[in-house]
């Protein structure tokens, strides 16, 4: 049995050459590795019980993590700036939330997360294939900062893999509902759901990966994940730097309709 967070487990399985020692913080991990014949970079946010900021010790994306991701991505881009090959970046996503705290608000956590969003988007627009691999929670501001700017989003099919604007227990407390009531509501309203099948119906997920075990994967499981990530990278053609493909979901008709109508009215 492998121990550690989901993000940690998959980071260790996929990354080969850990460059964490060069980084200034234990909560943002950067490593080189390969998918197929291709060298690529892996990024993860992980729990750090000694994090300088107490409200960001459980893997939340906080002040240091937002700016730390930005720094890591800028380093990757600066290595590649003169070369014609833009190495792929794989964000291993297991983020329970953004950090909730007084210091975070006081020191501009929104700006720190904007730093990460900007870096990921710049990498994508510069031609780095960016893949988000969801192996655990992908919550709210945490996901916006770490993964949501990717060219492709793929996820492991598992109840522990969830996407949402707010963690389930927090959402239940805020909306004065029970978690069971939230689950019941989500069955009728796909964007309210936490599960990956519902999320897939929104059009934002490119692949849902079914493997034997997410927490203690065997070699076959690891191979399937690597193949799927490799397929996603290979699918990104030159100049394919946008994210408009996300609009094609069965449960996203209104998002398309608004754009079509606006385009028609633009020239009128």
């Amino acid at each position: 049995m492998t121990t550690g967070s989901r993000g940690d487990i998959w980071f260790k399985l996929l990354a080969t050459e850990d460059v964490v020692a060069q980084n200034k913080m234990a909560s943002v991990r950067v490593a080189k590795g390969s998918i197929g014949d291709e060298n690529c970079w892996f990024l993860a946010v992980r729990p750090d019980p000694d994090n300088l900021y107490p409200r960001a010790r459980n893997g939340e994306v906080g002040l240091l993590e937002g700016w730390g991701l930005a720094e890591a991505i800028e380093d990757i881009m600066s290595v590649a700036v003169d070369s014609t090959t833009k190495e792929p970046i794989v964000a291993i996503v297991d983020v329970p939330s953004q950090a909730y705290g007084r210091r975070e608000e006081a020191l501009g956590i929104h700006q720190a997360l904007a730093g990460a969003v900007s870096a990921y988007a710049r990498a994508r627009l510069a031609g780095h294939p960016v893949i988000a691999l969801l192996v655990g929670k992908a919550m709210s501001g945490g996901f916006l900062a770490h993964g949501y700017q990717a060219n492709r989003i793929v996820a492991l099919a598992d109840p522990g893999v969830q996407v949402h604007a707010m963690g389930k227990s927090a959402a239940a407390r805020i909306t004065l509902r029970t978690e069971e009531e939230l689950d019941h509501l989500a069955k009728k309203i796909p964007p309210m759901a936490y599960d990956m099948e519902s999320y897939e119906s929104l059009g934002m997920l490119d692949d849902l990966i079914r493997i034997g075990s997410v927490d203690s994967p065997g070699q076959d499981d690891i191979n399937i994940v690597k193949q799927t990530v490799g397929k996603a990278i290979a699918d990104i053609g030159k100049g394919d730097t946008g994210i408009a493909r996300r609009l094609n979901g069965a449960n996203r008709k209104a998002s398309q309709r608004v754009r079509e109508l606006m385009r028609a009215q633009w020239r009128d």
Partner: protein
């Protein structure tokens, strides 16, 4: 002779805010309430939808220059972003990018009045915010994107991150800017961490005066619509920003790694910490 009275911006609704900024007669609302594109999700949850989904988008001109402008209506569902409202803002920015690339430079003005993602449309709101952010990242390299936060709702949640991507940010003292709303922080971290009833604490940390003093926004304005208009025109004329605030990575990181986190922070501490660095103020 009477002195002309300053016209407040904050009391205007979203549509009026846009029309007060654009050159007279130039405003063309797109996907307007007459098109009746309402949220497909609210009625299923017994919430009455609105014909504009709480977001007004328009094209027009400022000082004769082509501009797109989006305003979120704070009085509808707390200014929350759902599928339709989010698509309106993202779609508008995407058209501004196309227009600019096609030879007609078009800048953008975003009037934030939002609590962030609409929880009733959770993942479609969050996904739309990622698309708005992506569009800003493309447009801001071509044309300025100006963000405005005046209150009363302020700018929170995923949209506060969006604000952090803008080329230039304007606030009034009545505005607040923060990632997490006070009640959510109190709920998650306890009242000792963040007492949502302590207005002095919250305004001291996230209000316009503090955000401007600490360099997280570019300008603090009085609540005056003509001053707002002049300021936005000034930013639009400055053009594309050389180093965006979101990209001042090493400056922020070097400061934030040295913070003493044994004691809880005050507004004064935050000011001292954030102004110690040498941030590009404009």
């Amino acid at each position: 002779m009477s002195v002309p009275q300053a016209k407040g911006f904050i009391d205007f609704n979203a549509r009026k805010r846009i029309s007060s900024l654009l050159d007279p007669g130039s405003m063309r609302e797109l996907v307007s309430p007459f098109d009746r594109i309402t949220s497909p999700w609210l009625e299923k949850q017994n919430v009455v939808p609105q014909f504009d989904d709480g977001v007004v988008v328009a094209k027009g001109q400022m000082d004769g220059q082509p501009v797109v402008c989006a305003a979120i209506e704070g009085s509808f569902q707390g200014g929350s972003l759902g599928e339709v409202g989010g698509a309106k803002i993202a779609g508008l920015l995407e058209l501004a990018i196309e227009e600019t690339r096609g030879g007609n430079p078009t800048c953008a003005v975003l009037l934030f009045e939002t609590g962030g993602v609409r929880l009733q449309e959770a993942n479609l709101g969050l996904g739309a915010i990622a698309e708005i952010q992506s569009a800003i990242m493309e447009l801001r390299e071509l044309q300025p994107v100006v963000g405005v936060i005046t209150g009363p709702v302020g700018c929170f949640g995923g949209m506060s991150i969006t604000a952090g991507l803008c080329s230039y940010l304007v606030m009034t003292r009545e505005g607040r800017l923060g990632l997490n709303g006070p009640q959510v922080i109190e709920q998650e971290a306890g009242a000792d961490e963040y007492d949502s009833r302590d207005k002095d604490l919250i305004w001291g940390l996230t209000g316009g005066i503090q955000r401007h003093a600490t360099g997280l926004v570019d300008v603090l304005l009085d609540d005056d619509s003509s001053a707002m208009r002049d300021q936005i025109c000034d930013f639009l004329n400055r053009g594309v920003r050389e180093c965006h605030r979101s990209d001042q990575v090493s400056q922020f990181l070097s400061i934030l790694q040295k913070v003493d986190t044994d004691e809880q922070i005050t507004a004064e501490d935050a000011f001292n910490i954030l102004t110690r660095g040498n941030f590009d103020a404009s």
